[in-house]
Each structure stands twice: as C-alpha cells, then as structure tokens.
Symmetry: C2
Subunit: 345 residues, 2 copies
C-alpha cells in the first residue's frame, strides 16, 4: 500500500539524475491503463475494478506519484487560500489573533498562508507582492498607506486589522479604542488620579492615543503631548524605555496608560526600578488583555480584547468581500475592550 511507505527518500527507483516529478501520465503508462483510470484509482471513486485499482496504486507508489495541486486546482474549483500578514509573532497578542483567523478559515475550508512582516513596511510590500499572486484574499496589519497597499495588491481583496473606517478605504475590523479608554480612564479617575500619562507605541494605531487624549480632556485633566512618551518598540523593553523617559519629563504623574500590555509591563518594571511602587506611587493600565498580565506582580489592570474574535471577524469580512456583499462596518466590525481590574491600577 501507498500508505506504508515511510522511509522518506523513498524516491529514485532508477537511481539517476534528479528526475522530474511523476505525472498521472507516467503512472498510467507504467500501470498500462489510461490516465482517467489512474485518476479514478487515486481519488478512489467507484467504477473501477479492484484489481486494476491495486495495480495503479502500486505503480503510483513506485513512482512516488502525487497529483499536482495546480492541475487539480485548475479543474476543481473551490480551493480558497487567504494570506495573513502578522507584524510581530513575539507579541502574544498576534498569535491569538492569528488563531482566530485560522479557526474561522478552517471552518470555511480555507487555507491560510502566513507572513511575518516584522512591522517593516518594505516587508509588508513584499508580502503583498507574493500573496497577491498566491492568495484569494489578504488580511493583516499594515503600516503602508492605502494607495501603496493597493498598488501591491493587484486587485486582491484586503481586510485591514485594527483600522477604523475613517482611516482606510479598505474593509477593516477594528477595536473600539474610545469605548475602552472611556472605561479605563473612568477607573483611574475614580481612583483619584488626576495626572495621567501615556506610553504610546511607535507604529501602532493612532486611535489609542487619540482616545486617551479625548478622555483625559473630557475629565478636565491636565494633559498635552508632553505627557505622552513614545516607546521605540511594542515590547516590555520598549515600555521600560518609554517609562524612563516619561518619569524624567513628567515625574508628577500618578498613573500611566500603556499602548499595550507589553509596554505596560515594561512601565511597571521601570517604575519599580526607579523606586516607585505600583500601584501605590504609580498606577498602570494596559491594553490587550494578555494572559501575561495575570502572571506579573502586581497583576496588570488592562483593557481586555477578544483577539480571537478579531481574527474571526476579519475572516468574515473576507467572506463578504468574496461574496460581493457589503463588508460589515461600524459596531459590527468592532471588538469592544473590556476593563479587567487587577492590582496595578
């Protein structure tokens, strides 16, 4: 049986030059039947004599025959491949989004080709150059502006992750940063904080920062761009660095909102290294809801996002695009963060 062939370089019966892969034709010839019969045997349809079938399968095994997915795809429609572009596999946030995408895609019988762009705009473009040829649709995180994306997309449908409708002309799924920050800042203000800073991420969605600013002002608290420190990267180290800087320029803050949980954790570490206690001297609020937040001490208070759901939604958008339907917009295409209070704030 074909199945029993386990030693891997099973190949090369003649032991010669690196042969081209066997085709259905070769198998047919070797088995002394027509290509059609080979097809029947390999895809085990009925309408074939068990004996012939056996003979064909044996020939196939001998030649290490595997049907060409291209030829097959050409003739059998229905194989859908989606591209997924992820900026940073090391940030636990994104694998979880990816899990949602994979889950939803699998449910639809789609495959997913994954690319790691490492938050690099040039790499994003390379990803699109490839995926635009190999995928039926693309979902992902992109820093490149709409027109650049379009140029490298060659007409393939695109669903942007974490971009609001006012930020792109493409279909998108996003996070309701405003709602999240309303809850988050209400919590901080309620706890008595009036001098609240932010640790922003360099290449992330601007809405987090805007929502922060809006909410702070709505509460009538003092704030300006000086209260916001940029983190060079969306990591714990980046958060530490940003916090150091913020503590230098605005030592009076009593609370800080981190662009994401990694940055927030970095902020806690930096603050404590500077001799500040958390939450005593400095309250820290994160954004993401990584499980990491439960593990650090004190536990991280954060705006939890259903990342899997974000991924699932993205796939649903793709499906709509493909069906020629209007993509979801507004609240349907949003995930709303939920405040999870632990000890850090």
């Amino acid at each position: 049986m074909l199945a029993d062939d386990q030693q891997q370089p099973s190949n090369d019966p003649a032991g010669g030059a690196p042969r081209r892969r066997a085709t259905i034709h070769d198998v047919a010839k070797l088995a002394g039947v027509s290509r059609q019969t080979v097809s029947r045997a390999v895809n085990d349809k009925g309408e074939i004599d068990p004996g012939t079938k056996e003979r064909v399968l044996e020939a196939a095994r001998l030649l290490d025959y595997r049907p060409s997915r291209f030829a097959r795809g050409l003739v059998r429609k229905g194989t859908v491949t989606a591209g997924l572009v992820i900026p940073d596999l090391m940030n636990p946030f994104f694998p979880e989004v990816a899990a949602g995408v994979l889950e939803a895609a699998e449910r639809r019988g789609w495959q997913v080709v994954v690319w790691d762009s490492r938050t690099d705009e040039a790499r994003e473009r390379e990803a699109l150059d490839v995926l635009s040829h190999q995928a039926d649709a693309v979902v992902g995180y992109f820093k490149n502006p709409d027109d650049v994306l379009a140029r490298h997309l060659g007409g393939v449908p695109l669903v942007l992750l974490e971009r609001g409708p006012q930020q792109t002309r493409f279909a998108a799924v996003g996070i309701d940063a405003a709602a999240g920050l309303a809850a988050g800042l209400a919590h901080l203000v309620h706890a008595g904080h009036r001098r609240i800073g932010m640790l922003d991420g360099v290449h992330g969605p601007a809405p987090r920062r805007q929502a922060f600013l809006a909410e702070v002002r709505r509460h009538g608290l003092p704030v300006d761009e000086g209260w916001i420190a940029m983190c060079p990267e969306h990591s714990v180290a980046g958060g530490e660095e940003g916090m150091e800087r913020l503590l230098d320029t605005r030592p009076e803050i009593t609370a800080v909102f981190g662009f994401n949980d990694l940055i927030a954790v970095g902020a806690m570490r930096a603050a404590r290294r500077r001799g500040r206690t958390v939450p005593g001297d400095l309250a820290v609020l994160g954004f993401d809801g990584l499980s990491l937040g439960e593990l650090v001490e004190p536990g991280l208070t954060t705006l939890h996002i259903d990342k899997r759901q974000l991924g699932r939604l993205a796939v649903e958008q793709v499906a709509r695009l493909r069906a020629g339907e209007e993509p979801m917009s507004g609240a349907d295409a949003w995930v709303v963060p939920e405040l999870v209070v632990r000890s850090s704030a």
Copy 2:
C-alpha cells in the same frame, strides 16, 4: 491604472448574477487583442506597445481580472508551499518556532500554510489530509504515530518537530533534552537539592521525562514515578494543577522541574499559594526559555531553547528531503538547551 482601484466591491460592472472570475481570455476579448498580449501586459514584459498595454490593463481592471494561480503554477514551476502544523498558538513557545520556520521559508522563497492542531490527534489528521494535497512538504508537531501519519500523508515529505531519530522513521529536528537536563539537574544538585520532583506534560515529548529520570538517578537521588505529576495541559493552569497534586503526594520535595516554562510558572504560583516561598522552600526549574520567565517574580531559572533555530532547522530538513539528500541526523538536527539561571532556582 489598475493600482488605483481601491474601493473593494469594485466588481460587477454589469450588476448581475455572481459572475465567474474573468480569465485572460475575457480580457483579451474586451481589449481586442490576443491572450498572449494580455499576458505580456499583465506580467509587464517588454515587447509590447505602451498604448496596447494601457488598453489591456484598463480592460483587466474593468473585469477585475487576476491571473489564476493554478494555471500559472501549472506552467511556471517553482512555487513551493510548506505546511506547518502547530499544536498550541497560545503557548508562546510555538509562535517563536513558527517565526523560525517562516523566516527560513521566506528566505527560500517558499510559502507556509499554517494549521493549528490544538494538540488534537484527529485535527492533526485533518490537517494532513488537506496539506498532503496542498503542500509540497509538511513540518510540525504530531502526536499520531508514524504509521498513521504516513497514511494521511500520501507521500508528501514530513519533518517532525521535537522527535529524536529513535522515535520516528521520518526526518526530524529535536531538542537535546539529555544535555539540557544534565545542566539543569547539576545546578539543582549543586545548590543542595536532593528531593527533586517533576511536573510532566501529558502529550509532550517523552525525552524530557526520561532525561529527568536518568539524571536524577545518575546523581544517586531518590526518585520514582511518584515524584512525577502529570499536568492536564501545557499551561500555567496545568502547572498549578500538577503542582497541587505533587505537593499533596510528595510534600518533601525541595525542587521541581517543569516540563515547560508555562508549567513551571504555574508551579511557582501554586507553591506560593500553599505558603511555600520560591526558591526558599521550593526551587523551580523550567524548560523553554520563554521571555515570560524574565517577567515573573522570582525570575524563572530555565533551560533556554533557541526556538527560532529549531524552526529554521526544520525547514532545512525539508530542503534536504526535497533535494533527495539525506536529512541531517544526530547533533546537526538538535538544538541544545542552555541553562539560564534567574532567581527561582
């Protein structure tokens, strides 16, 4: 220009039934040229009049034409797609391995289709059933035994992650658990521990446990299966549960080795909840080297693995298989853990 088309349901110029996708033929007809000319325009080869090219491109845009990747693949060889089967995207270990795979694959110009098996044997088989048709090779983590894998592989080359040569007839890349545990236990023993338990993972590679047992015995320490508690899952929660049990049955232990870092962190938490200090009353040693280990308190002492490298190696094995070469074996196909001492042990 084609590129400027950004609104997404751009489709459906006639506004009718859900049309089939336009082919090169349709474009040729609309532009009033031959298919060959369309091909030239789309792949912008030279040898074409700028005017016609423009006209063709316009027609293509109008029809929302995208070349079929199948037809293309059929005629242009060289598109390689690898399948990657990952057991648990929520464990930060695996995204990092995946990153290594993606990195190496990209460098070779390969694409990677990712599947999340969620450590489920049935799902592994489903993944293989699909990937065996859609991928040129598969790498991944599998619980299914060799013969089952072979049956669902249909002859597609497979590279197993974290299986030693004595555990599989397939090509594989592994972790030198023995070397790791030698270093790890030496450290614990040197620190004076003589009663060391282990928190094992249910469906993980057995070598960790075997190496643990071997090393403990080599040091002449008391140990039997009772010193090893099974964790129901490879997570912090699983580690907590296992530790609870171990503390019940073997309260005399002064140190514990965790199957992976997540489990080790769970062990720390459970131990402390039980009133034991770490490392004072209980030393904890992990295995993986997740960055999480630096963030918890106390910092987790662990056997650090270069996960990216593991992924890269796997891709290299695939390349060898494809080239008909002998896959690497022994030390070449191993990643050696490195002891990272922090405060937990």
